[in-house]
Amino acid sequence: MIKAILIFNNHGKPRLIRFYQYFAEDMQQQIIRETFHLVSKRDDNVCNFLEGGSLIGGSDYKLIYRHYATLYFVFCVDSSESELGILDLIQVFVETLDKCFENVCELDLIFHMDKVHYILQEVVMGGMVLETNMNEIVAQVELQNRMEKSEGGLSAAPARAVSAVKNMNLPEIPRNINIGDINIKVPSLSPF
């Protein structure tokens, strides 16, 4: 079972939080902080697995994470999940985001938190891996989007706004700004 999915940026600002096991609000924030603390102090050349937080479920609990440019994607899972399998599931998720948002960036995640949630719902349902086939995930998401377009939905507007922002050719943005650095590079295959 996947117990939680946390996405936060290099400064620990949460960008998407999804718990599949109930925790009280303050506990959730504590978990986010602890996880960020654990993950952020690790170099890029160490392994992507972490054991030993004590907040979610003790020994039967692992953190599997990937770091893309400004964002950390962290999956908290129990021992029944395959580490390498989850690691690639993160990759699938990010690649799907990239497809849906066309060159995804942190801004997309901020302004379209709801959309990211919908995509995630097609990948993981109630803590269980629902689909790993990217085409299938994208198809489901598009099905929903079509419905949205037919309603002339509101979330279309910010999408346009963001792509307009993207097209402005921003110069290099200093790193210490929370919503800085725009593109998450999705490596076709990140090396170990």
């Binding site: 986010i32 395959s82 390498l84 901020i110 302004f111 949630h117 299938e136």
Partner: protein, 1127 residues
């Protein structure tokens, strides 16, 4: 704040206005989210953020409750609320609106509503009730997306008691034409299965349909369920092994659509899932394993591409290969794989490799030897996670020879570890191996000292508890115990003389206890010195009041001799006026006891720990009081559980609105039957009335060794086996490690740093080839030196049996085989090669007899050679008339030992077979024991040597009845081993497991495991009693269970008929039947009584079982239920 970003963000609204939409509201709302985000990024402090969000929340609250807010605005407000919640600010006022949005809006509004609900609410949130109708409606919707959303929310949030309301609709979706719906429905059902397995019991066959679904996605989803079900009951799904293998074969072979490829690997996640299922199915099951070998080989071969995900598959393959029945060729490949992992420069793979190695090292210690240098390198790896995983591996290979080096490594790590969780975990491990393998007392005490000082107060309380228990109970050797205690005292005195202020509280407590109890052993040590040292501890600033009370208690034990008096006097005076009541009490005790030496000697005798405390757990001494109270008109005692239930029934909440057609709260009704208060008939005795039947294990953290918990939060607690803290250790000592053909020493790496080499040799000593020597009988008793005296029934008895079994007396079997004496309980039958021609005639005659099943005792015992051979011949001749299975049974029947022939024997069950050697077993009921017969037949054309059969069990006491063990098995021979079994502790099924090892003619060793399941009734025998005896016994037993059973229907005297069934099937003894009540007695072998009281009540049979043995009533009740269901 960067100008650029600011500009960008201020530009947002204007950018948005490019699209000339009719809704100005939309524009403003979007910019609100944007401005919120912008606002937050501008802030510099947490405090400001808090202020801003609070403002925002107030704004949202206003808008959300205003009637003019449109759906569109509502959605936007929800997203903002979600954003605030994500940052950790509660927006609980929004919850109800989220539900409303999910209820009322269009599909799109619903989507936001459902998302908000899923993020805001949790399983036990009260508002969830309001969602049930919406979900029901959406599940019936024709809009696919609405159905999907409903299924998603159901699988995320719905608690146990709401499942019945929606279950039929979800179930219906399994046949939905759209595969996405089917897939989500399957996953939702999986979730239901996890939280309430009995509610989805009836749809198991539908899961099978899902498994055969034409859409691979649905099939994949159904594997979740199967993995779980097989984990719980591998036996029930053996028939599916073939199907899973076929599926895997097709997946590996690339039969799935290209869509399912991930980096050109066909559906890797599906493969992982399937491999896990296979490993569960193939565990301890040779025939299932054999089906898998081919596909595993194929998977290994195909997964050789160099991509991350293929390693995930390889890892599962390796695990599977090492879990299932071993096959040399595959093991070799798997070992190579692990090697590749470990040697990989990629750090994730190294991690996985270490994990795999940790997993397999128990079966194949040689593998650790091969990689010793890599392991040593990993120990110094900069990544802490890798380091930790390596230590875990070392922990698994610890044995008596390398324990000092490994513990040193573990302690080194502990010294630098900053992570509490790791510290706690490692601490337990060090304590465990130190206790188990300590080479000498000095080392043990020193190691534990380090553990206590490093662990500080983080340590699990069971570490000091176990340590003190070990010191107090000691081992079998009195002198050793004394030495250990002396060492402890010496080392603690010197520690206290040093810097006691640096020691953690827990350690100080341990020290004071040991000094109080054992400092008298050191004769040259004045009690006064110890008292002074302890008094110094009392004066420490950081000493907690708990520590102080330990110290005071220790002082109380030490108050003899004049010199200490003045110190004690002072201490007791100081603390008599303490604000802490516990301390005050201790001080009072100290004061009074040291004034009264006789009382002192009686209250605190030396070595009191060696005498067990007697606790009257049934509280029979209160019976008189209770009966007086009852006579005076007091109401009989009801347990809180019972009272609550009655209360609940009185004002049960009606679940009608969403009850739909299904009956709900099944659990309630079944409990009701169990607890029916009318069951309390007068014959039941008084002490039982105060027993809480709920059997709720108290989750107290208090550890009271030696004292049984009698009263708990819920009143009187049924007596349970005083829980043994120690879990059977996962560590297998070197002697236990099964050998898989170790022939050569590992070749040492050509170039390696001297130091590392040295470390390696000290770390890996005792693994591999050295093991073989201890396996052959030279197991070092020293390793178990620090093992507790039969205190943990599981592991220690297991170990002792292991050792006793591994030391086999050298059997002289050639003579034995040839002259086949009458006394020999196992029939060793020489093969035809050794048979002289003259005996052939009579042998043939006998063979025919056997085939006809008319074997008489005389025939069996006659010195007949080659019985088996001839049997086979006869079988070949008469196979037209007889069924082969029957024949086989018949064959084995002829080998039944003489004293078992008349008795009732069970069916012959094949246990395992390997290289032409087949094992079958049956059990024979005897009055005072249960005899297990293991038949070993060699159908190959060659003899096997060094034959060893070991039978062992955690639940059952096994003793071998055969006089000499089988050593050699000639070709076409059958050997019989006899074992007498009695139950150690009751369980629904008792399992005996065993190990056969032998050498093939070409000297290759073979090992096979088997297990044999015995139902509890095999160990039940009637217990003949008079009604009076029954009465007195009834009162004395404290473990009981009540339940209503079904009566045998359609007969005149249904009570009599029911009891007859039980008597016949379960070997119970019906003591008496009086009117509508009956009493029944039985015993569990060897002599554990269990009494049953039955009463016909409203068409059911209310039974009440009692026994002095915990769990026996429960287990027996289960079989009673079964027996009556079968009627």
């Amino acid at each position: 704040m960067s100008d650029v970003v600011e500009k960008t963000l201020t530009a947002l609204p204007s950018l948005l206005s490019f699209d000339s939409q009719p809704g100005a509201a939309k524009l403003s709302s979007t910019s609100k989210l944007a401005s919120l985000i912008r606002g937050i990024t501008e802030l510099t402090s947490k405090h400001e953020e808090e202020k801003l969000i609070q403002q925002e929340l107030v704004a949202i609250k206003d808008q959300v409750s205003s009637p003019n807010t449109s759906m569109r605005q509502m959605k936007e407000l929800m997203v903002r609320a979600i954003y605030c919640e994500m940052l950790g600010y509660e927006a609980s006022f929004c919850y109800i609106h989220a539900i409303k949005l999910a209820q009322q809006g269009t599909a799109l509004d619903k989507r936001v509503g459902y998302l908000a609900v899923a993020l805001f609410l949790h399983e036990s949130h009260e508002l969830l009730l309001l969602l049930v109708n919406t979900v029901l409606k959406d599940l019936q919707s024709t809009n696919l997306i609405e159905v999907c959303m409903a299924l998603t929310i159901v699988s995320q949030l719905f608690p146990k008691d709401m499942i019945p309301a929606i279950l039929p609709l979800v179930e219906e979706k399994l046949t939905h034409p759209k595969e996405i719906i089917r897939r989500k429905a399957v996953l939702a059902l999986y979730k239901f299965y996890l939280i309430a397995p009995n509610q989805v019991q009836h749809i198991h066959n539908k899961f099978r349909k899902a498994l055969c679904d034409k859409d691979p996605g649905v099939m994949t989803a159904s594997l979740h369920i199967y993995l779980q079900m097989i984990k719980e009951n591998p036996e029930g799904y053996k028939d599916l092994t073939g199907s899973f293998v076929t599926i895997l074969k097709q997946v590996v072979g690339g039969k799935l659509p290209m869509d399912y490829n991930y980096h050109s690997v066909p559906s890797p996640w599906l493969q992982i899932q399937l491999l896990r299922i296979l490993s569960l199915l193939g565990k301890d099951d040779q025939s299932s394993s054999e089906i898998m070998y081919e596909v595993l080989d194929e998977s290994l071969r195909r997964a050789e591409m160099n991509h991350n995900i293929t390693y995930a598959i390889l890892y599962e393959c390796v695990k599977c290969i090492y879990t299932i029945h071993p096959k040399d060729e595959l093991l070799e490949k798997a070992a190579k794989c692990i090697g590749n992992f470990i040697l990989s420069p990629k750090i994730n793979l190294k991690y996985i490799g270490l994990k795999a190695l940790t997993y397999v090292v128990q079966q194949d210690p040689k593998l650790a030897l091969q990689h010793q240098m890599t392991i040593i390198e990993c120990l110094d790896h900069p990544d802490l996670i890798i380091k930790r995983e390596t230590l875990e591996l070392l922990f698994r290979i610890t044995n008596g020879k390398n324990v000092t080096v490994i513990v040193e490594k573990l302690l080194d790590f502990l010294r630098t570890s900053k992570d509490d969780y790791t510290t706690i975990d490692l601490m337990g491990k060090v304590a465990e191996v130190a206790e188990k393998y300590a080479p000498d007392n000095k080392w043990f005490i020193a190691t534990m000292n380090t553990v206590f000082s490093l662990g500080g107060d983080l340590m699990q309380p069971d570490i000091p508890n176990n340590f003190l228990k070990l010191i107090s109970e000691g081992f079998d050797d009195g002198e050793q115990d004394r030495m250990l205690r002396l060492f402890a005292v010496d080392s603690y005195v010197s520690l206290l003389q040093g810097e006691p202020e640096k020691l953690p509280q827990r350690f100080l407590q341990v020290i004071s206890w040991v000094l109080g109890e054992y400092s008298h052993l050191r004769e040259d040590l004045e009690p006064a010195t110890v008292v002074r040292l302890l008094a110094h501890v009392l004066d420490l600033k950081q000493a907690s009041s708990e520590t102080k009370s330990w110290v005071l208690l220790a002082m109380t034990k030490l108050c003899e001799g004049e010199a200490a008096m003045s110190v004690l006097q002072g201490v007791s005076e100081t603390y008599s006026s303490s604000m802490d009541t516990v301390l005050r009490q201790r001080a009072q005790e100290l004061q009074n006891l040291h004034l009264n030496p006789e009382l002192w000697a009686r209250v605190l005798p030396r070595d009191a720990f060696t005498e067990p405390l007697e606790v009257d757990s049934s509280l029979s001494f209160l019976d008189g009081y209770v009966s007086e109270a009852l006579a005076a008109g007091a109401a009989p005692y009801k347990s809180p559980h019972q009272r609550q239930e009655e209360l609940a029934q009185a004002k049960a909440v009606s679940m009608e609105p969403y009850g739909l057609s299904l009956p709900i709260s099944m659990s309630l009704s079944s409990l009701d039957g169990r607890q029916s208060p009318t069951l309390l008939s007068m014959s039941s005795g008084l002490s039982g009335d105060s027993t809480d039947h709920s059997h709720k294990a108290g989750t107290t953290t208090l550890k009271l060794d030696k004292v049984k918990r009698v009263w708990g939060r819920e009143g009187y607690l049924a007596q349970r086996e005083s829980a043994v803290v120690e879990v059977p250790s996962p560590v297998h000592s070197a002697d236990q490690i099964e050998e898989v053909g170790i022939s050569q020493d590992p070749t040492p790496p050509p170039v390696a740093d001297q130091e590392k080499q040295q470390l390696a040799s000290s770390l890996f000593v005792g693994l591999g080839s050295q093991t073989s020597s201890s396996l052959m009988g030279k197991s070092e008793p020293k390793h178990q030196r620090l093992r507790k005296k039969a205190k943990d029934p599981v592991s220690s008895s297991e170990i002792s049996k292991q050792t006793s079994n591994s030391i086999f007396p050298p059997p002289i079997s050639v003579d034995n085989l040839l002259c086949n004496s009458n006394m020999d309980p196992k029939k060793s039958l020489p093969s035809c090669t050794q048979m002289t021609e003259s005996s052939q005639g009579s042998a043939a005659a006998n063979g025919t007899c056997a085939a006809e099943g008319e074997f008489t005792e005389g025939d069996v015992q006659g010195p007949e050679p080659s019985l088996f051979r001839d049997n086979r011949l006869t079988i070949a001749g008469s196979c037209e008339t007889e069924e082969p299975v029957g024949m086989k049974d018949l064959c084995l029947t002829s080998y039944l030992p003489a004293d078992c022939i008349g008795a009732n024997h069970s069916e012959f069950t094949p246990l395992c077979s390997s290289h032409g050697v087949h094992l079958s077993a049956c059990h024979v009921h005897k009055d005072d024991t249960l005899v297990l017969l293991v038949f070993i037949s060699n159908s190959s054309n060659s003899d096997v040597h060094q034959f060893i059969v070991q039978v062992d069990s955690g639940d059952v006491e096994v003793s071998c009845l055969s006089e000499s063990p089988v050593e050699e098995l000639r070709c076409h021979h059958v050997e019989v081993c006899q074992y007498s079994l009695t139950a150690k502790r009751p369980s629904v099924h008792l399992e005996v497991s065993g190990l056969v090892s032998f050498n093939m003619p070409d000297r290759t060793p073979q090992t096979t495991h088997f297990s044999y399941k015995l139902p509890l009734p095999s160990f039940i025998r009637p217990l003949e009693l008079s009604t009076e005896e029954y009465g007195t016994m009834w009162l004395a037993f404290s473990h009981d269970t009540k339940q209503n059973l079904t009566l045998v229907a359609d007969v005149q005297d249904s009570l009599r008929a029911t009891l007859d069934v039980l008597e016949r099937k379960l070997h119970l003894h019906v003591v008496a039947i009086i009117g509508m009540e009956g009493i029944v007695a039985c015993r569990l072998l060897p002599d554990q009584p269990c009494l049953m009281h039955c009463r016909v009540h409203g068409g059911t049979l209310a039974v009440w079982l009692r026994s002095p043995v915990p769990d026996l009533p429960d287990c027996l009740l289960y079989h009673c239920q079964r027996a009556l269901q079968e009627v």
